[in-house]
Each structure stands twice: as C-alpha cells, then as structure tokens.
Symmetry: D2
Subunit: 461 residues, 4 copies
Amino acid sequence: MPLLSFWRDQVGSIADRGRELLSFGAKRAPEPGDLARGLLSQRGEASGLALAQDLAAAIPAMDDLAFEKFVAVLAGEFACDPKEVENAVAAWQQQPGDKTLAALRDAVEAPRQELFRRLNMAPSGTATLVRFRQRLLKLTGKRPELRGIDEDLRHLLASWFNRGFLRLERIDWHTPAALLEKLIEYEAVHEIDGWDDLRLRLAADRRCFAFFHPAMPDEPLIFVEVALVQGMPDAIAPLIDKQRGTGDPQAADTAVFYSISNCQDGLRGISFGNFLIKQVVGELSGEFPNLKTFVTLSPVPRLHEALKRRDAANFSLERLERILGEETLQALDGDGLDDPIEALARRAASGEKLSPLLAQGLHRLALAYLTQLRQSGRAFDPVAHFHLSNGARLERIDLDADRSAKGLSESLGVMVNYLYEPKSLEANHERYVDTGTVPVSRKLAAETDVAAKQWDISEAA
Amino acid sequence: MPLLSFWRDQVGSIADRGRELLSFGAKRAPEPGDLARGLLSQRGEASGLALAQDLAAAIPAMDDLAFEKFVAVLAGEFACDPKEVENAVAAWQQQPGDKTLAALRDAVEAPRQELFRRLNMAPSGTATLVRFRQRLLKLTGKRPELRGIDEDLRHLLASWFNRGFLRLERIDWHTPAALLEKLIEYEAVHEIDGWDDLRLRLAADRRCFAFFHPAMPDEPLIFVEVALVQGMPDAIAPLIDKQRGTGDPQAADTAVFYSISNCQDGLRGISFGNFLIKQVVGELSGEFPNLKTFVTLSPVPRLHEALKRRDAANFSLERLERILGEETLQALDGDGLDDPIEALARRAASGEKLSPLLAQGLHRLALAYLTQLRQSGRAFDPVAHFHLSNGARLERIDLDADRSAKGLSESLGVMVNYLYEPKSLEANHERYVDTGTVPVSRKLAAETDVAAKQWDISEAA
Amino acid sequence: MPLLSFWRDQVGSIADRGRELLSFGAKRAPEPGDLARGLLSQRGEASGLALAQDLAAAIPAMDDLAFEKFVAVLAGEFACDPKEVENAVAAWQQQPGDKTLAALRDAVEAPRQELFRRLNMAPSGTATLVRFRQRLLKLTGKRPELRGIDEDLRHLLASWFNRGFLRLERIDWHTPAALLEKLIEYEAVHEIDGWDDLRLRLAADRRCFAFFHPAMPDEPLIFVEVALVQGMPDAIAPLIDKQRGTGDPQAADTAVFYSISNCQDGLRGISFGNFLIKQVVGELSGEFPNLKTFVTLSPVPRLHEALKRRDAANFSLERLERILGEETLQALDGDGLDDPIEALARRAASGEKLSPLLAQGLHRLALAYLTQLRQSGRAFDPVAHFHLSNGARLERIDLDADRSAKGLSESLGVMVNYLYEPKSLEANHERYVDTGTVPVSRKLAAETDVAAKQWDISEAA
Amino acid sequence: MPLLSFWRDQVGSIADRGRELLSFGAKRAPEPGDLARGLLSQRGEASGLALAQDLAAAIPAMDDLAFEKFVAVLAGEFACDPKEVENAVAAWQQQPGDKTLAALRDAVEAPRQELFRRLNMAPSGTATLVRFRQRLLKLTGKRPELRGIDEDLRHLLASWFNRGFLRLERIDWHTPAALLEKLIEYEAVHEIDGWDDLRLRLAADRRCFAFFHPAMPDEPLIFVEVALVQGMPDAIAPLIDKQRGTGDPQAADTAVFYSISNCQDGLRGISFGNFLIKQVVGELSGEFPNLKTFVTLSPVPRLHEALKRRDAANFSLERLERILGEETLQALDGDGLDDPIEALARRAASGEKLSPLLAQGLHRLALAYLTQLRQSGRAFDPVAHFHLSNGARLERIDLDADRSAKGLSESLGVMVNYLYEPKSLEANHERYVDTGTVPVSRKLAAETDVAAKQWDISEAA
C-alpha cells in the first residue's frame, strides 16, 4: 500500500513528536496502552490513521504478558466510569427525556467501544479486532471480569458483520490457492486430507460456498460443502471417499449439506449458518432446476454422552430401558454389564455390526434423544438445535453412517438427515421456538406415535 | 438477483401466511409498521430476509402521509420503554456491576436500532436506510421529537461507514457512465455543465477521487476534484474554463483541491473529507513525485454575511473601520452610504475592479474575518473551520478570484488557498482545536503583525 | 506501462547505436523506412520490441508526404522480388514437391508481411496497423499499384481478427464513458444525438452488443442496437424517439435489430456482422425466453438510385411501368413529368402522404427492386445482400417508415424487415448463394405470384 | 456457454440436414473428414460456427486410426492442387504483375490453411488446433510427408501467437489452483514436488511469470521461475531446497532465472523465451529498484555427451588432452582408463568431490565446450545457444552445482550463469549471430586468453 507508506514517511516526525508528548521515549517502542490513549485523544483526530496503524501492528506482536497488561488497561481505564453513569442516571431521573436518555446512553457505553471503532480505521483493522477477540476469548473463561470487554467487541462485530454486508462466493478449483488452503485448515467436520482430497471436494458434482466480509476479503467466515447426488444419502463415507468418481450434477435430484464450518473463532456467537444454508439453497435451485431435495447429513455429537449421563428426568435408565423393550434388553444381557444402555452404546461405539434387534434399539434411543432431550429450552444436541431453529425437519436417522473414530465415539456411528423444505421453514421454526416441538418426517412420526405409549416419556418432557 | 427471487417464490406462501398472522388481509399490501413489527418478532429470525426485503421495498414507496405515520411508529412503539429503563436503573443502583450495567445498556437502546440492523440485511438495505435518513432529516427541523430516531440512525451509520470500510477509487473517463452522471448531479461547489465539461474535469491534468462503501458500490459518498498545475492558483475561472487546453501533469508542482462535494444527505454529520484529502495527497505523491505543494482553492461563503452582521464584539463597525484606515474610508465616502464597510462590500459584490487601496482594504477585512471571527469556539467560516481542523494552514487570500454570481454575492469574489503540509498537520490541528489559533503563512503573518496594533482586535477575541 | 519505459531507458544507447548503424544521424529522428529496415534485419531479433515501438510511434505522426514516401518504400523495397519468384518457380518446375512448394510460398510472400507481423509486437501495434490501413485505403482508389500492400494487410488482419479471437460484450449505461462516446462517433445508421439520446438507446428495453478484439480492448469493431418490443415495427421514429418512455423488456415478443455499425474503416472487407447478429440472437434468447421474433428494421439505401438509373435489363422503364399498372400511371400523369417512375419517386422523396393507389405502386416497385434487381450475381441493394447472405428472409416492406432526410432521399421513406429465423438460415443462405433466390414471407410471396405474370420481369433476371 | 447451446438447439435440424447433404446417414456420427469438407464449403458460411464446433469436438475424440485417416485427408484432398499451381505459374510467367502474383499466392496456399482458420472460430478452437499439432508432431518423425501439414499449422500459429497478442501475468499463491497445478505438470527443469514445494517456489522472495494467449486463458504458454537473492548463486540446491527459509526480496541485489519451461508441445518452434526474459527483467526492475544483476543458473545438458563424442575437429581427444595439461593427465592416470577425458567425466558424473587440479581441468573443458564447440553455425549446447542468441553473456561456470541424477549424468554437475545486461544485449546478439563469438565475463576472458595458446583450438573453429 504505497500511499500509506508515503503518508507514514510524511507524518513520521509528528508521530515521533506525538510519542514524546505521550511521554514514551524515542528509544523504546510505544506501548499499546499508550497508543490506545493517543488514539482516543484529540490528537487521534488529526493523525488517527497513523496511530490506528501503529496500534493494529502492535497488538498481534504482543506476548502473553503484554496482552494481559493491555487487556487490563481496557478493563480498567477504558471501561465505563461509574461516577459518570451515576450522574447521568441522576440527570435522567430528575428529568426523563430524549436528551438525558442520550446522555445516559453515552455514559453506559465504555470508551473502549470508540477505541475499537478508531482502531478499525487502520488497514486490516477489522481483521486485527477479530483476532484480538479470538485471543481474548481464551482468557475470559478463567477471568470473568474480562467478559465486559468481550461483550463490547461482540456487539460491535455483530453490527459490522451484519448479513447485509456479507458476500456469498462460490469456491471451486479456480479459486486462488491462498484461499483454498484455508478450507483445509478450517474444515471442522470431515477433515480434508491435502490438495488431492480438496480437489475432489470441489469436483463437478460438488459445490462449496462461503460468506466473506469486504474488510477481510481473503478470509472465509463460514463455508458449506454440498454434494449433488441422487437420493438422500445414509452414510458419509461414499461422499468423501478419496477414490470416488465424479457424478453428473445435472442428473442429481438431491443436494446434501454434509459439512458446515465456522472459520473465525473471533466471531463466536455471531451466527451466519442460517443465512448461508438458505442462500445456498437458492443458488443451487437456480443452477440445477432438477434438484428436489435439500438435506443435511449431520453428526449427533452428544448422543453417546447423553446415553451415559441420563440425568434428565425423561432420560432416566428406567425409561431408556422401556424404550429398548424386553427382547432387546435380553439380547444385551450376555455382555455382562449391569447397564444394558451402556452395553448397547459400547457395541455401537466399537463399530461392530448390530443385529436388527439392536439396531432397532439404537434407532429408538436416537429418536428419543433427538426429539425429547432438552436443555435450557432447546434441543440438547447442538447440531439438532441449529438445524431445527433454522426451520429444518428431522427427516431420517441413519445407523452405521459414520465409521470415523470421532463418529463412532461421539455419535455411535449415527447420522441424521435434516430436511430444508423452503415452504415449511417458517412454521417449523416458530413451533420449535415456541413449544419445542421437533418436526419429523411422516415415517419417523409413525414410529414415534407407535412407540409413544410404550416409551411413556413424552409427558415428562 | 435470481436467487432471491427464487427464494421469494418459495417463501411466498409463508410470507402470505405470515401476513395473515400479522393480521393484515391478503388483499391490501402490508403496512410498513406491520412489516417492522414482524421483522423484530421471533418470526423475523426464520424469514427475516424476506420481511426485510418487503420493508426495504415498502419504505421508498411511501407517500408523505405514510412516511410520517411510519416515523410515528418508530418514535413511539420502537422507542425505549421508560419503565424498562427505570427498572434497569434501579437494578444497577442496587448492585452496580457488569451485569446490571449491560442490562442498563440494553434498556437504553431503542428497539428501532435492532430494527434498522435487521432491515440492513435486505439487498440494498444500507442504501434504503441512508435514503430514509435523508427524508427523515427534512422532518426533524420542524419536529424535534423525531431527533431521537435520527440520532439512532446516525449512530448506526457512523459505525457502518467507519473509515476502515471505505474504498478510495479514482474516477476518470473510463469510469462507467452511470457513476459519472452522479458527479454531475452531486457537484456542489462549481457546477458541471454537461458531459463535455465533465470530460474536461477528468482530463489528463486533473484527478478525481471518491470514497465508496461496499454496500453502495454505485454511490460515491464524497468526491474531490484536483487540478495539477504549476504554481498556486489565484482564481477559479482558469481551472474550470470550458475552453482550456490540457496541461502536462508530469510538469505540475502543485495539486489544487478545488472542489469537495458530499454526495449523501442521508450521511450528514458523518465526516469523510478529512480522510479523503489526506489519502488523496498520498495517492498523488505516489503518482507524481514532482508535486511539492498541496493546496485548496476555496470559497469564503459567509464573508459578505459577516461584514453585514458585525454582531461579534471584535467585529464591530468601529473596529472594522479601524482595520480599513482613514485613507480607505475617505475613498469610500463618495458612495453616499453611511456605512463604509457596506459600501466596500457592495462594490466587491458588484464585480467592479477595485482600486489598489480598496483591494488592500478588502484583503484586510478578509484576513480579520478568517483569523479573528469565531462562533462556538470555532472559525465562523465553515470552510475555514473544515480545513483548519484538518490541520491545514491559511496560505493566501485571493481577491477577484471567483466572479460567479454565487462567488461574488457570498464571498465577495474572494477565495482562499489552504495549504496541506503533511509535516505540520498534526501540530496545526492541535493548536487550532486547543487555542483557536489559525496558522497562517509567513507573508500573512507579517501583515497580521504589522496590522495588529492598528486593528486592535486580537485582545477582544 | 512502466516496464516498457524501463526497458527503453536501458536499451536507449543500443537504439542510438542502432540508429547510427542505420546511418541516421543523432540529430534527426529516424525515418519510418529506416526503422522498417532495421526491424526486418537481424538486429530486429534482439531489440525488436524497441524498434517496433519506435515504428508504431512514427507511423501515426507522419504527415501526408511522409506517409506516401513510406508507402512507396513498402510498395517497392518490401514487395516480392520477381527474381526470387522466378528462381523459386524454376526450382518447383524442375522438381515439384513439398520443399520447392514451400520455397515458392516463401518467395511469393512480400517481405512487408513479416514487417507487419513484427510491428504488431509493439504495444498497440495492432491498432496502429488497423489505422494504417484506414489511411492507406484512402490512397488506393487513385493509386491502384498500392492495392498489393492493402491486400497483404487485409489478409493478415482477416487472420488475426478471426471470429475465434473476438469477444462479444454487452454495452449499457454501466460501460465506461470512454467507450460509450465511441458509439456516438461510430453510429452510422441513425445518429445518436448526445449523451441523453445515448442513454435512451441503452435503456432497459434496449440492448447493445459489440465485438471486441483482445489487442484493441477499448475499440468496438462492430455494434448492433436492439429494441425489445411487442410486434414487428413498421417505422423507425418511435424506436429512436427522444421523448419515448421505457417499455418492459420481459413483456417483449420481438427483438428488432434497428442499427448495425462497423466501427473500423481499417478492417473494411473483413466481415463480422453475420456472426454478431447470430450470437446476439442467442444471447437475447437466453435472457428473454419470451422473445419469438428476431427481425431487422433496415433501410433500402439504393432504391431511389435504382429507380432513376433503370439500366438493368429487367428494370427498364417499360417494365417498371408495367409493374405500376395503368391506373397508377394515370394518377401520376398530372405531375407533368414525362417519366411516371420519376414522378412517383419525387413524391415519395418529398415525404408527402401517398394515396393508397400510389402507395401500392411504390410497394410493388420496392418489392421488385429487392427481389429482382441484381448486380454481379448478388442483390443490388447492399443491405439486402448482407441480410440475405446471412440467411435472413424478406419479411415485410414498410412504407413511410423513415422520414429522416436521408431516409426519404435514398430509401424513399421505405424500410424493410428482414427476419432471422434460426431454423431457416442455412437453407435460405444456400438457395440465395446458389440461385439468387430471395426468400420472402408468405404474404409477400402471394403478392409476388399474383404480380409475376403482369410484371413479366422474372425471366429477364 | 448457454448461447451456443441455444444456437445448437436451433440449428440442430439444419445440421442434421447438412449431414444428410454431406451424405452421412443420421445414424452414425459424421466423420471429421466430412465435417472438414462441409466447413470449407459454401454451407460453412451460414452455419460455420456449428460445423466448426462439431469438428472441434470430433478431433480430440479420434482414436489413433481415425486420427491418421483424418491427417491423410488433410495431406491429400486439402493440400495444394499441383494443376492449379501450374496454371497460376503459367499465368504469372506470361504476365508478371500484382494480379497474377496474388493468384499464384492463392494457388500455393493449401486449402487446409483456410480449414484451420474456420476451425478456429469454434469456442476453444485455438486450443484444439494446438493440441492437434501436438499429436501431429508425434507422427511427422516417421512420416515426413506430413510435414507440410505441420508447416501450415506452424505458420498459422506463429502468426496468431504473435508477441503483440500475449499477456504477461504474474503467478503467485493467489493464482487459481486450476492454473497452479499446471505449473507442477509443466515444470521441465527442476521438478516441483507437490503443493508445499510449489508454495515455496512462489514465496515472497521468488517470482514466477508466464505468457498467456487470450484464446487460451487457462493455459500458460511458457513460464519462468526467478529467485531474488544476494549475490550470484553457484548451485541450484539452495534455491529449491524444500526446507529453506524465505528471504527479504527488498534486500536482494540479484534476480536468478533458474527455470524456464515451455508448456505447449503444440507450439514447438514458436519462440517466446526471449521476450519473456526481457519483459520479466523490466517487471522486476520496476518492483525492486535494488536489483543490479539479472542472471540465469542453467544446466549444460550436452556437456557429457560432447566429451564422449569428440567428433568435431576442434574437440578431438588430442586437443582436449592439451587443454587439461600434463599434470592433470597424470593425476587421471591411476583410473586405469585409456582415455583420461572419459576418466575425468566419470569422476564428475559419479558426484565425487574433485581435487583442485581436476576441478580446474573440468572447468577448462566446460569453457572450451561452451565457447568453441559449434554445430550448424551455432553453439552446440542448446541452452547456451538460447541465451547467447538472446544477447546474454557467459558470466561464470559453476562446478558441483547440480547434484541431481540428471545434473550429474548430463551436465557433470556443472551449471552456468548467463548474464542479462540490458545495455549489452543487442551488441552481444549481433556478434554472436554474425561471427559466432561467445561473449564472456572478464574473468573467463582472462582464463581463455591465457589458455588460448596452450589449447590451440580457436583457429580450428
């Protein structure tokens, strides 16, 4: 960026002078805290860009000690001043109205908000803030007093990463390598094993889309991988098989969302997935009029854990045993374990081929888990919650669908197809949010109905 | 945008259903207020994009009555709830801390902020909001109770139009015509008289730069016109002469910023000019290493008005007469007016060629006006204030420099060169902001010094 | 192009040395002839680019005298050497075979061909050659001995401007102004009256497409203007009316090619129009599935001339009178002219409203002109020949369709719709080329059949 | 390309009819020969694009038998007609002049030239022709009667791939992966070992440039890899070391062209390397003003072979022994071989560390080989000939510089730095072409001078 370097040369002496005024000697580099003070001062108005750039360069260079020190400054000096809040509250209480309310609003906004906005003026300022939050989040676990800083940042980033500012981009083999290597790095669901594997993920019968923000053009925010196939798939392996041939996308009737990965830890808590899936459904429909079905193939990452814990009222050992039924319980008897649920889970996690009877049992447990188990008013399973709150429907449960180590140990090999049917999304969403109802396919509904009495768990929900 | 139309087809029935739920019949189009309610409701999460798009389409279509009705909804229903503020204040007072402060922050943020954020998700949502504010600003003058809405919008737009998100683009004869015609429309200082004139403004010895926001790629936010010439110009006419030939930009030693125009009324109060000029100085320095001087040629738009009003303590008739001096006062005697200042102003405004004596008198008045006259702690002249607060220096006062009707009547034909010297910007800025000092060139300084005693106006400042 | 200027600095001294070797002093600039000699010499291999650039710069700078001198060099020194041709012929006659044939091929290729190829290496070399030929063509009329140079250039340019190298680009209001102004300049059929008119030509219910060559990215080669309307138009005025409103392109069923302009005189004799129309038909069909009819609205530029000349056997006064018929002849009697054909033509050219009887007469004459009058085995009318050899069909003759000065004086106000029906193009083309048959619409065919006996002109064709 | 498919649908029936007319039944696909006949016929003018597309699709699909059959058609039916040539010759002899010469020119151009030009109209026609020639070249070795076809193609492609039409593009890690993988495929000098290696070749202290033709935008024609280093390198290993760190390109004073690869076999005999290197020198100078030296690090691929053959008069065993000198010959005595040159070559090829004495001997042999050994008037070594005819200078001979298997066996581990000094290129080129003189650095010159008498080989050159 030649123009900036020009500018920096020109303002060099001011900057230096500025640094002196800020009372840091010529010898040592200015501390981030001092730069931040300068940036928020009046001085920042004239040479704000140069100071913002200095601070944006200083932040990533900080070691852990310096980082914590800087964070401490933000948490102290740049927090709201309780005195000011008090005064503003008093003024408002005395004379409630637009003006006093505006003053109160100013008083409760921590000065670091303005600092972050000014920092953002620097080239790559936005990326610096996102990475700063990523680092900050590692601290907030142990140091809850820092959550205020994080909340300020989250608020700002949520506003800046508004859906209206994002661009959806298709990613394929014609995408620059510098961006493609980030897919390899960020893929969080089904690891990409090098460039040959990546090329297959981007083959003619695959699609990949990502959201980008204009201020971070080389950094995907979230991406989804889609397979264009015939019929709804019941296992992940054929989709990501490194030996597979390439199908004809025009002949496909089904688009399978088989992997969705968030890329930026620093944007945690700011959700893009809902928009991404819906927009990609639109894009694919435009390109492939033959597509009839839009469906996921998703893991059930807390199934095993839930079968072990059984701490919810309607997920007690007793009820789960009732779900399995006598015959199945007997079949598991021989495993020599007191706990038949544990026995079944162990078998599934080991990857052994289950007998029809046991498979039916696991299917029932998974169905109960997905439709009945709740936490804080939402589905216990995070993947289920994500798709259900998007308005998708629980379409099918696939056993023996993911034989990867992680798939067996966490999901007991089970995967789920969530169906995105445009016409039903809103109604599904509302019922789920209002009443917790999990919409299921007719086939699963039948099974649920038949089973309901025998399970006797619904009333406990 | 095919994908969106696809999506709308798909969600059509939901939207319809949604509209019913929102209790507006199928027959009449939903009212903006209802759409806004829907968009902020839970429903908005599932089909937010469609609702946002409906609202973004409805807003520009509103007639004045509908607009005022919608604004009333925003001012009432979507304002802060005083009850909630009270509660939040009480909670904070009882137990001051991060949590109660965050709750207070939430309570003082009007719900319309979130509404605006959701509206922004629509394609062209940002442009819709900017135009909405433009329309709103026409109302706020007479209806101060609406200023709260405007303040909310301004706050949001200032955050979204952060310098870090803007792109500087050069505009020349290779720019799309659809954008060029906006220059003709938006040029606010020296009118562009059609396409042939425009082409001359973009000739090889001219430069034009504008800031753009990624969400409004076809709309310049602000643009500056620059002439590359030899020597500092003392009149505007030769620069915008429609018969002029084209000079060699490589031979130029001076870049003249002769016109800066803000394009978006809806972004009033959000300042880009400071950044624009400084970045353009950098760009030009990179392209033309021979440039030594960066200077404006600016109007003095309130000079005539100030000479008439004379309401400031140090701008009384008595003092102004002392500035002119005996000999000059006598020379004006023959005009038959009681008021010699008025007499001189009339002559200048008429465009007559002033005698050296009168010219010197006008020069002194202008210098006093620019360096001494203040309002609310800043230079009374708005153009002067803009450049001085950017850190520029008052370099030269040019008489008989703008013979356009507006130039004569407002500025008495006077123009000013403000010098942008990178090394002095910060110091100038600070002194101006701290003490009101107007930095002037050595030549003007000498004149000021000599005159100071005789003027006897400085102490009154 | 910084790299070239770098390179030129570096090779400056060589170039200088080279110029000395080429025996032109340091003082005066090298003559184009000398540069050409240098470029074809061995030296040209090492510093070919620099020499080519010098020559490319020198050619446009030549005054008429210098130009003719340079052309004389090309015609003499750079023509084939008859001696070499003789030798090559002798060798081939002695031993016909691949080798002697190749040698003969080399001998009959004028060295200027290679000169042109090397000149093309310069930046903008292609454009220089095109403009050089444009200038050359002005000379060849009077100086037939220069046609050999032109033929060499035409051959080369035809090869380089092969359809496979051209890009079709849509032109609209988002196209750079520098390109749009060329439309105004090049429009040859219906003049564009400034920028406002241009904007209307590019409105939402209009399309404009042009071919470009990668080596001349800013220069359209040919462009076509299309109106999207309902029904086949029978007059030009409504299509180019400067007050007209904009229609809905989605509602259009007919695409009217109402203006096709070749832009580069230097590419005369190299045909793009055929490809352009057919490809634009494809583009429009893709964008607007509702389009059913692709048709031109074309002038009949030699109708008046032909009615005056009547020098063809089947276009004698006698036969034309027979075409008109007794009643019409009598109606024209009162004009006091010996020649009723002339009388009718004068009335039409004057723009007067013709009586139904006279209108029928003019219609018959135009039909006979278009279907019967031939020259060198092709339709006498050049516009007719162009569309007929493309495979279009004569669909309708529109009287009183072009009331511009040119339209009245040349075409007698008549215009023609040629229909482009993709399925019939090839068959039409072949019959036209093989037998001269002009395909006509059923309605015109009926009229022709009925009239044929009475006209009695077909056998004379 | 939707428009083409539209068009094909439309002309489907014509094509079918055309095929019938061309007497190939509806059942079997048309043969390439028939398509070629159709494309050259009158029919080709109307539906040329469709026929060209058919032929362009048919050619790559031919098996070897079909290919040879098609080539036979081109060699027979589409060759020049000797009868026509005879007639044209006779006419020219009778009346030499522009017209008869033009007719003769037409007669000696084989009709397949026009066929190739029409084929080129198809989308990807150019690429089809390049690949067709690649395949053809495999046949011409054994079947010299096909060289005429190749010569026609080469002539056409040389004209179309004129330097003026090529674009130089930088290739880096932001280049699309689809293009980058071609570098891995085409690198012919120092193999690229997968994507990680590739990324290192494109690191910040490396540059890669390629020429592209607009009709083949995804296919590099030739590319060069450059290392930016300090000082002239004397071995290849550190430059392509897969563990190496990345240097600071701004600190580099030397640009090393260490690999140049032609990518398209079908463009054999059409030279781009000369232009590429010179243009890249210009690009690099613009980006890095600190660069002082532009140099290659090149193999000596026929050194070993030449030392074995010794069939040139000035490269006899006797003279080579004289070059080595007595002491060195004695040192090689112990190897038990009759032939000391062979003994030295074996040692070098084995990769053993040579004693200073033997190293000096090998250095002398290499110097004699590079400066003295000629074939058909040019340097025997092809790499030397390439750089010398570009005007480069033999700067340094590096022993033990390439320890790869190929480097040892062919070049005996020797590499050469050829220096590209812009100011000397033309003079060097001319002397080399005119007199065969190999320009050498002062240091090598001294060595040559000293050695000349003792070597006594120069006069035999």
